[in-house]
């Protein structure tokens, strides 16, 4: 099967610092692919590089087999590939209403039918039409993240780059957002690349995943293998142990 998104030998550097060091992944059409690894390992940079938002110095990114320019992305690209950032505060303008925030992508891409799409998008992300004229600074974190997802979905992309989309949310909202993301992926045959620090979330959402450390992919495995403990790298094993919760050292001593 041809990869919907492929990154080959990707390198991103900030001055002398290698944020991505020869990274390759390929994600099949309709697949949900996970990225895990410690903070600073380059997960966001990889998504940003795909979205044309990071200084790629080497390697290649292809969309449906077609190589993209290292930096420039045209409007047609963003019609097909949308990104949801990890930070629901920074990604939405606080002084805009939900309505304005949802109108904007429609205007950029010249999509008609705004009224119907806005109501549908609000409904799809579980916020009623009563939220339509609220300002984003009046929303809580979970509400903002739903708006960020609605904003990405409203122009009906094929690929969603999801950077920790639920890590700032409480459990009840996370479950709803994960169900929402699974539902729209199934309904619209979307392809996902999803970053999360929660292995429970990643294995729930993704078929395969890559483990990143210091700008490199150190292990690729299926969610099934991870859950069953069929892990080759010590680094991945540590992530597994840590995901079991806090253990008080004093209590052991």
């Amino acid at each position: 099967m041809r990869a919907a998104i492929a990154a080959e030998n990707l390198t991103v550097s900030y001055d002398d610092f290698l944020a991505l060091d020869d990274v390759s992944i390929d994600v099949a059409s309709g697949e949900s692919f996970g990225l895990v690894g410690e903070s600073g390992s380059g997960k966001s940079t990889l998504l940003r590089a795909i979205a044309g938002l990071a200084p790629v110095s080497d390697g290649r990114i292809a969309l449906d087999g077609e190589t993209l320019d290292a930096r420039y992305r045209d409007k047609a690209f963003y019609r097909r590939v949308q990104m949801v950032f990890q930070d629901p505060y920074g990604s939405l303008h606080p002084r805009q209403t939900v309505d304005r925030l949802l109108q904007e992508p429609l205007a950029i891409h010249g999509v008609r039918d705004a009224e119907r799409r806005i109501l549908r998008a609000l409904d799809e992300v579980g916020l009623g039409s009563s939220f339509r004229f609220r300002y984003s600074h009046q929303l809580s974190g979970g509400q903002r993240q739903r708006i960020a997802i609605a904003r990405a979905l409203i122009i009906e992309p094929e690929i969603m780059l999801l950077d920790e989309p639920t890590s700032a949310l409480d459990a009840s909202v996370q479950a709803e957002v994960l169900n929402l993301l699974e539902q729209v992926r199934r309904d619209r045959k979307l392809t996902y690349i999803m970053v999360s620090h929660d292995l429970g979330v990643v294995t729930h959402m993704c078929e395969r995943l890559a483990v990143m450390k210091s700008g490199k992919v150190v292990e690729r495995l299926s969610s099934g293998d991870l859950v069953a403990g069929r892990i080759s790298e010590a680094y991945t094993k540590n992530l597994m142990v840590a995901s079991k919760g806090f253990v008080r050292k004093a209590a052991l001593a």
Partner: protein, 277 residues
């Protein structure tokens, strides 16, 4: 023993064009030198509770309490100057979003150094060394490099840890940590909890730990307050969380994806109007 903090019938509301939003509706609890968790879904009033204690309630909001007392000081009637000095030294808050609390035009290191030097009379050299040591304590590798970076040049998780370092360097007696680790990956998360844990155990700091992660809270805190729609619906010892009585608490525990359980879709909360009554 007198509690360090007493909160009684705290209320915070926001007048808006479409009516009054009641963010906190009569919250009461006390805190000693312990780890108190506050959990609840988005919008339940956790942050506004923390901010009210910290004195960071937005100016246009209405705030009232029959008691809001920190170590003998009535926080609601204390002069602004007293509150500011408490906030600078004895009470600290780690905000949910580091981007809002770090100054974007100042290097991370300088911010930590300035925080330290407003509380303690230390020389430049020592301040720098201690700031770097604190960055290392929150598991920032290459702390010397990060010291000179600006907030926009680091990842979200690293910004969060820099923020934690800045709050801890003043050595507060009461720390309100609002989702301090939700942007961090699991290993670092546990390191940060280890640091907070040590401050409670060794220095007798009181900690209010606001989080949406019930599993984490149950493994870390002593007591847990569960909030829904601005109210406390249940208060429970952390070790008993699995036997929570309230259906809301049970629902929160149930809806988390865990390794090896295959539930598609995940169970979601069936919210009952009477929970908000």
């Amino acid at each position: 023993m007198n509690p360090m903090l007493t909160v009684d019938d705290l209320r915070v509301s926001f007048p808006t064009r479409t009516g009054l939003i009641e963010a906190v509706r009569g919250v009461s609890f006390t805190l000693g030198r312990e780890r108190l968790g506050i959990v609840g879904e988005s919008g339940s009033g956790k942050s506004q509770t923390g901010r009210a204690i910290m004195g960071l309630t937005p100016a246009h909001a209405r705030i009232s309490a029959s008691k809001l007392n920190f170590d003998g000081t009535d926080l609601l009637t204390a002069p602004a100057k007293v509150r500011r000095s408490l906030r600078g030294s004895r009470i600290a808050m780690i905000l949910q979003d580091p981007k809002y609390s770090l100054n974007p035009v100042m290097s991370i290191g300088r911010q930590i150094v300035e925080t330290l030097r407003t509380h303690e009379n230390v020389g430049k050299r020592e301040a720098r060394d201690r700031a770097i040591a604190m960055l290392e304590a929150v598991q920032i590798r290459d702390a010397g490099r990060v010291f000179d970076l600006h907030p926009h040049e680091v990842s979200g998780g690293m910004g969060q840890r820099a923020m934690i370092a800045m709050m801890l360097i003043a050595g507060p007696e009461l720390l309100i940590a609002d989702e301090p680790t939700s942007a961090l990956d699991v290993t670092v998360q546990l390191d940060v909890l280890g640091i907070l844990d040590k401050l409670v155990a060794e220095r007798g700091m009181g900690l209010i730990f606001i989080s949406h992660d019930l599993r984490l809270v149950s493994s870390f805190c002593d007591r847990v307050i569960v909030m829904y729609a601005g109210r406390i619906v249940e208060e429970i010892a952390a070790v008993d969380l699995a036997n929570a009585k309230h259906p809301y608490t049970q629902g929160l525990l149930n809806c988390m994806p865990t390794l090896g359980t295959d539930r598609h879709p995940l169970p979601v909360l069936d919210r009952k109007p009477e929970w908000a009554a």
